[in-house]
Symmetry: C2
Subunit: 210 residues, 2 copies
């Protein structure tokens, strides 16, 4: 993330350790508020209390900052759902844990998630490929857990493709509308969404009018 400081170390010897992080947070705030296109590198540097030249020691471009924000966000979400299912055996318990985690993650990190989700098209293509691979991994976890429940008979799924995208989509959209001043904490929302997803997957559910 930060570049190696070799021969020119004396140029930024007094830049604090957390400068890269400060730049990322400044970029995140500006991208979220104004959008990627309308944010300049000068504004990012200035919001982080640096000169543009000092910023370039850490990130070569605005696109690199967007990539780093997006990468950190996607990796964090993926690690979260991978880890949270591990202690559980039954497909329902695993899916409940997954939805609680992924939903509350999007609520808790809604600014980061909004930028990571809605500014994707501005990534450079080599960066986009890396993020797309992380997104496929996240979708693969959801699909794997759905299939586990279908195989055991715990879940009824009419169409695995549509169900995978619906389960992902329901939770990703939390980033769009969630506000920390709203009625639900991230954990409360996660519990409610897990309940709704499990109801949707229940083999006992019926859809026809009596």
């Amino acid at each position: 993330m930060t570049q190696q400081i070799d021969t020119e170390a004396d140029l930024w010897v007094d830049i604090p350790q957390d400068t890269a992080q400060r730049l990322l947070l400044a970029a995140l705030g500006l991208f979220a508020r104004r959008g990627y296109h309308a944010t300049s590198t000068r504004q990012i540097a200035s919001a982080a209390g640096l000169s543009p030249a000092a910023m370039y020691m850490y990130f070569r471009s605005k696109a690199d900052l967007l990539f780093e924000i997006s990468r950190v966000g996607h990796e964090s979400a993926l690690r979260g759902i991978e880890a949270v299912v591990l202690p559980f055996q039954t497909p329902r318990d695993r899916m409940r844990a997954l939805v609680q985690e992924f939903t509350s993650w999007h609520a808790r990190h809604n600014t980061l998630a909004r930028v990571a989700q809605y500014e994707l098209q501005h990534l450079e293509s080599r960066h986009y490929e890396e993020i797309a691979a992380l997104r496929r991994s996240i979708a693969a976890v959801v699909r794997r857990e759905l299939l586990r429940g279908v195989e055991s008979g715990d879940f009824h799924v009419t169409d695995i493709g549509k169900t995978t995208i619906a389960v992902l989509s329901l939770q990703i959209d939390v980033a769009r509308w969630y506000s920390s001043t709203g009625p639900w904490s991230p954990d409360e929302l996660g519990l409610g969404y897990a309940d709704m997803v499990l109801r949707m997957l229940s083999p006992a559910a019926v859809t026809q009018t009596r």
Copy 2:
């Protein structure tokens, strides 16, 4: 939408009738591709084959174009779900029709829906209020149909607030990910989503591990 042409009619007598529509489509394409902030009125006018001065005869500002796109989009979606439930009596049939319509609307009009959903924060405050009222009306239709099913015993809903937002959110997010080159037509997606929402609302659904 178009301004009244009175004393200065001779200035734009040769502008075709559909100019306002052409400007709206040009703005929509640019907002979707580049974002609102990064699009200039000059670019919009040019994409519509007009001079900026000629554009101002139709729309006073870029913000007015965004408002008009957003208003048309929200009114169309609201009219759609209001109309589509009318022929049906049972809560399930009404909800199925609503979800089919609202989901396929977001797939069919995904560019318009994306701009209407994700550029909201750029609306001027008086415009924002008008769009917010339309959004409350859309949410009120979903909530009304949910309550109808709860009262009749056709639906089980643990939390009406969370369920209303989940049903809306699932369908709105279609605008983010849907592509006309993907595996499902808007109607196929609408059918699949209606099935999933009805399963979620089914009183027979169970969420606990056996």
